[in-house]
């Protein structure tokens, strides 16, 4: 049954690299959405017996990560009428290479982590780390405020994969709480985006340095 879990995880890692290399904003949003959907189906594949609670969580997660958030971001993209391209600080290829290196390192590193219980898949932890790293890379190397939001989204995806490991230990309630936070957070940010464009007539977060004391 390992392949059943490993396949989506490999897909997630490939999406990570794709997102680091993609230059169109819309592709970035959709890849993040696809990644979210794939991840929200993960518990269904992982659990031995599927209860009503797990299905509810999966449905809610798909709805939020796959539909609501991408829609909000897409709307924000149209509303603020920014150039539809990602503005990188470091080029696409170098970040992609960094992402690949990071993925390789996380696979190497995961073997040495002192885990209490061996997971059902060896790829869970590397996928988690590489996704978090991707999120961070997007956050630190892209300038537009919208890519920042997507960076956080992907960072949360990485944390979610880690949470899947602890499925039995951490109640889904906590997961749902995090999801709600994320949703509200992005909701707020998409409002803020509008205000940033109004105040700075650009979404470039570099301009925010003007707010420094």
């Amino acid at each position: 049954m390992h392949w059943l879990i490993d396949t989506p995880l490999v897909l997630v890692m490939l999406l990570n690299l794709f997102m680091l290399g993609v230059s169109r904003m819309r592709s970035l949003i959709y890849s993040a959405a696809v990644q979210g959907v794939v991840l929200s189906l993960l518990p269904l594949l992982l659990e031995k017996q599927i209860g009503a609670m797990i299905i509810v969580v999966a449905v809610v997660t798909v709805a939020i990560k796959g539909v609501l958030i991408p829609q909000m971001l897409h709307k924000a993209l149209l509303d603020v009428q920014i150039k539809r391209e990602v503005e990188p600080l470091i080029g696409f290829l170098p970040t992609m290479l960094m992402g690949a290196l990071g993925t390789a390192l996380s696979i190497a590193f995961a073997a040495y982590l002192p885990m209490t219980q061996a997971g059902s898949s060896t790829l869970i932890i590397p996928a988690s780390f590489s996704t978090m790293l991707t999120g961070f890379l997007l956050l630190t190397t892209r300038y537009k405020a919208i890519t920042q939001v997507i960076g956080y989204l992907i960072l949360e995806n990485g944390i979610y994969i880690f949470g899947v490991l602890l499925l039995t230990a951490v109640p889904f309630l906590v997961e749902m709480g995090i999801l709600l936070d994320l949703y509200v957070g992005i909701f707020v940010v998409s409002i803020i985006l509008n205000h940033i464009t109004k105040a700075f007539s650009s979404l470039d977060t570099r301009r925010l340095t003007a707010l420094k004391e």
Binding site: Y112, F136, L139, Y143, A210
Partner: protein, 670 residues
């Protein structure tokens, strides 16, 4: 039952401000529902709290599910009830007063948020008194701190108000930080996050650390010198019923925390008592001294809060010394004085703040020197303010006298034959207390004379009008309670005994309170005095009415064309005292005196700046800021850069997990 009543009351008060959020800006029903909910909650809460005080039952409750993975333990005993009575009472009074003082129609932009935070803060304060584990305590404490910050910042359009709120914010965070550390150390000592007794075997160093952190954390909230720095400007800039709440109740929650933590400490050394007593004496003397120099009536009252917290701490100090040297009599008198003064100060200081609010509302100024002659325009406010002033000065037959008398007796006990050797020195505290009383009288003569007597120094003062009925009613309730406790001190014996017993943890010692203090005799004397005063006032009224001689302005001194500027001012009245206290107050004089005879215009005024915020903080803050300039390089305001720092931190922490030794052995071995 009593616990459920109290919790139900909490919920009612907590949500009191919520319905108003959905009402229209200018409609009054939001305020009406808030007041009704607060009143209902207060009545239920008072019933529950008084029942606990009378029956002395202890109630435990744990609320599961509020916080995942941690219990939310509550415990209600007489000590909690003693403080929650004050909170519930002030909730009701403040709410009624707010009806006239902060009308939704007149304050349509701030009214809703004010009432929301008002309810939440009161409920949080009650939960603080009920909390029995560190998490519940800190949670309620933080909610209380945050909502009170928003209440102070109600008029956030004014820079002064924002400044005051920020200073308070810093102070309250410092306080919470100290409490976090304190609870961590208590966990270290007892192994539990419950507020349970600390084992006798705990090391002296650890106990000392817990005590000092408690003194810092709770002292900041209580406004003990030199941690009072947030207090004057916060009290001055908040709306008056909020100032009353801050001064009357919030400071007392700090005292409650200190009292509660001290009950958990085994064998407190005498040094703790001496420290508390000394800090109390310093707060009392400096508080009243700084109050003398203030021109802003609410700032002046705020410094009097520092003074009264000092008196409360002096009582506590005597009690702590008594515990250390095994003199139960000192303990009883000290703690009874401390507790009763908590109630009394809550009553009369709130009364004073509310009357000050009534003055501010009708004249628009807090400056004593631009008021005057208000007794004629606002007789109710004047009378009630005078009552509060007599009470705060500790004069019979009002309530301040009773609690101060208890503290006096506690302080004098060590000198009264039972004392052993060096503890006679404690009695010098009585001298300090006497001095504080005298200075307080001088200070309130200044306020009463400057604000209510003479003739108005500004058009605002000459055209002032009396406060509406709701405000007068609220003040009258407080005044009535001040008189009741003063004239018939027996009424507080039961609650006082009950709370003091819990604090001492000794049933037999607590019951001695009835014997040690001349309750019935004092009641008789006070009643006699009250009747005499009533008769004297009536007679004087009759004489004044019958007097047909013409009325002249005060200080007219026979001049035909006297004006308000010829009056003796409040500042000049205390000038001589300020000179005597110059060494500590260090007043600053602005402007020069007249240079020649018949000078056209002279501008001269004195200020007494606070020694923490205005002298030390502003000076050292500059130095601190200079030192930190090199760090600016890493604070560039770029989000990406900040995230990079976080990433680096994560990497470093992950790298610590990698078993490098194992890896190298693995590689080399192969």
């Amino acid at each position: 039952m009593e616990m459920s009543l109290t919790l139900a009351a909490c919920v009612l008060i907590l949500v009191s401000g919520v319905p108003g959020l959905f009402s229209r800006r200018r409609s009054a029903w939001g305020q009406m529902t808030a007041t009704v909910l607060v009143l209902a909650g207060s009545l239920i809460g008072l019933t529950g709290s008084f029942a606990v005080l009378v029956t002395r039952h202890v109630f435990l409750a744990s609320l599961p599910g509020i916080w995942p993975g941690a219990p939310f333990q509550l415990k209600m005993d007489s000590l909690s009830a003693f403080f929650s009575v004050l909170i519930f009472l002030m909730a009701a009074v403040g709410s009624i007063y707010g009806h006239g003082y902060w009308r939704q129609r007149e304050h349509s932009t701030t009214g809703q948020k004010l009432r929301l935070h008002y309810g939440v803060m009161l409920a949080a304060m009650v939960v603080v008194t009920l909390a029995d584990d560190a998490l519940a305590f800190l949670l309620a404490w933080e909610v209380m701190a945050l909502t009170s910050f928003f209440l102070i910042a109600t008029e956030d359009g004014q820079p002064e108000c924002r400044q005051a709120a920020w200073v308070y914010f810093v102070a309250t965070h410092l306080s919470t930080l100290a409490l976090f550390a304190m609870f961590a150390l208590m966990h270290e000592a007892s192994g539990k996050f419950l507020l349970s007794a600390i084992p006798v075997t705990t090391g002296a160093g650890l106990k000392m650390a817990i005590f000092l952190l408690a003194l810092l954390g709770f002292g900041l909230k209580a406004g003990m010198m030199p941690l009072h720095f947030w207090l004057p400007s916060a009290h001055a800039n908040a709306p008056s019923h909020i100032s009353a709440l801050l001064s009357g109740v919030l400071l007392k929650v700090g005292i409650y925390g200190l009292l509660r933590v001290l009950t958990l400490m085994p064998d407190p050394p005498a040094a703790w008592g001496v420290l508390i007593l000394t800090l109390g004496a310093i707060s009392a003397v400096l508080g009243v001294a700084f109050a003398l120099g203030q021109h802003d009536i609410k700032r002046l009252l705020a410094f009097h809060s520092v003074e009264n917290v000092g008196i409360i701490l002096m009582g506590l100090g005597v009690a702590m010394i008594g515990i250390a040297v095994h003199h139960p009599v000192w303990v009883i008198l000290g703690i009874a004085g401390c507790l009763l003064h908590v109630w009394n100060h809550g009553l009369f200081k709130s009364l004073l703040f509310l009357s000050a609010g009534s003055i501010v509302r009708s004249t628009g100024t807090r400056n004593i020197d631009s008021l005057g002659g208000l007794a004629r325009r606002m007789p109710w406010t004047a009378g009630l303010f005078m009552l509060g002033a007599i009470a705060i000065c500790g004069l019979p037959p009002l309530n301040g006298f009773i609690s101060e008398l208890l503290v006096y007796l506690g302080l004098l006990r060590p000198a009264a034959g039972h004392g052993s050797g060096s503890w006679v020195a404690v009695a010098s505290g009585a001298v300090v207390l006497a001095m504080v009383g005298a200075l307080a009288v001088a200070c309130f003569v200044k306020v009463l004379g400057g604000v209510f007597l003479g003739s108005g120094r500004s058009t605002a003062a000459t055209e002032a009008s009396e406060a509406p009925l709701s405000m007068r009613g609220a003040m009258a309730v407080l005044a009535g309670l001040c008189v009741a406790i003063g004239v018939a001190p027996v009424v507080v014996l039961v609650p006082l005994e009950s709370a003091a017993t819990v604090w001492m943890g000794n049933e037999a010692a607590g019951s001695q309170l009835a014997v040690l203090f001349p309750w019935t005799m004092l009641t008789a004397i006070s009643m006699g005095l009250a009747v005499t005063i009533l008769i004297a006032v009536t007679v004087w009224q009759i004489i004044v009415r019958a007097d047909a001689s013409p009325r002249r302005a005060t200080w007219a001194c026979g001049y035909t064309k006297s004006n308000a500027r010829m009056q003796y001012t409040a500042s000049s009245f205390v000038q001589i005292l300020l000179e005597l206290l110059r060494w500590v107050l260090r007043p600053i004089t602005h402007g020069a005196g007249p240079k020649q005879l018949f000078a056209e215009s002279v501008d001269r005024h004195t200020d007494v700046p606070d020694f923490i915020t205005d002298r030390m903080a502003s000076k050292y803050w500059q130095i601190f800021k200079q030192r930190l300039i090199p760090l600016r390089r890493i604070q560039q305001g770029s989000v990406q850069e900040y995230l990079l720092y976080m990433l680096l931190a994560v990497f470093i922490m992950l790298a610590l997990l990698i078993p490098f030794g194992q890896i190298s052995a693995h590689l080399l071995g192969r």
